[in-house]
Symmetry: C2
Subunit: 205 residues, 2 copies
């Protein structure tokens, strides 16, 4: 039941591994458990399936983003109090973000699809950059700005602080997308990064 939705799920799984062109309608159908022509009862073409995946994602993202306070909306950082943020708080936040991005099945597949399709499709390039760069930067920059203003952290360029805090998470995520088996090796490094970052910007040493 709900074949229509299952088609999108299986198609996304396949697209994220093989890219749009190397996935055949018959592959998607097989994954769903039907024959290729039956699939046309639900979508009028392969491209239509792809578009539906994009539409679905656009809905999902705004929810998740505001949930994680990750959106570009500058009002959202208000929720973070100016006052103390401990090293453990930063670790919790950074690891939480990292683990969510890395392990949420839907998010992961969608990201991998963006990765392999980005140069063919300018829309996807924009979505990728917004979700994985501009939005996190803008949120974190606002946060670090306030933490600096509140005297919790050194007064340094908050854009740079955001870049330095976030890009290790991003980079290691891309490595783990390629080599999930190396995750064990990198998780501790992320935590060490965040603790070291925190100490450096608190001026402790």
């Amino acid at each position: 039941m709900n074949t229509k939705k299952r088609i999108l799920d299986e198609a996304l799984t396949l697209f994220s591994e093989k890219g749009y062109s190397d996935v055949f309608v018959a592959d998607i159908a097989k994954a769903v458990g039907i024959k290729a022509p039956s699939l046309y009862k639900h979508y009028k073409s392969k491209q239509d399936i792809f578009d539906a995946i994009l539409d679905e994602m656009k809905g999902n993202y705004e929810n998740k983003a505001s949930m994680l306070n990750m959106n570009g909306n500058n009002a959202s950082a208000d929720a973070v109090v100016f006052s103390a943020v401990s090293e453990d708080d930063l670790v919790k936040m950074g690891m939480g973000l990292f683990m969510y991005f890395l392990h949420d099945d839907y998010v992961k597949k969608f990201r991998k699809m963006l990765t392999v399709e980005q140069f063919k499709n300018p829309d996807l390039a924009l979505i990728f950059t917004k979700q994985y760069a501009d939005d996190p930067f803008s949120y974190q920059s606002a946060m670090f700005g306030m933490l600096s203003a509140g005297g919790v952290l050194k007064a340094e360029n908050p854009d740079v602080m955001a870049l330095q805090f976030y890009s290790p998470l991003f980079m290691i995520m891309t490595i783990c997308d390629r080599h999930p088996e190396r995750e064990r090796e990198f998780i501790p490094l992320i935590e060490q990064h965040i603790r070291q970052f925190s100490r450096l910007y608190k001026g402790e040493n």
Copy 2:
């Protein structure tokens, strides 16, 4: 002349933008200025062209890597002296690495091809991770370890230092691959990052 080499160049250009499957033999031939069947006088199949590109790159990399002191060979960091490394030295080194990766035409195309093919081809995944993560990390970690030991920088985990130094370069490079027009916006940020990194790890502030 040297059609054989031109085929590789044009094929790489196309593969890097559209991915292997979306490039037709006729496209490559057209870019070279011949007809598709003529191309088979030089390579026995489309796959053969792809393989030749890989082979060529394997040769290129080891040279470039040792030139840039970027390889995984731990002896290579010996060239860096223990003694003083100024903020400007770090900027020069970081920006040089970044600009080379970002603007060298061959390197850029090859990276984009790795990006879009990585999940289909485990070999490419390994090459990507080696060239853009393991090798830079191992070189820089050795370097920061020596700078710490020499008292030039604080004694902190050198793996984390390498991660923090390099991952902003990597991440911004991936953004610029998608949006070359945003380069102007990001180059200054890279320089600020390196200067801020340097000051933090020198304990100045």
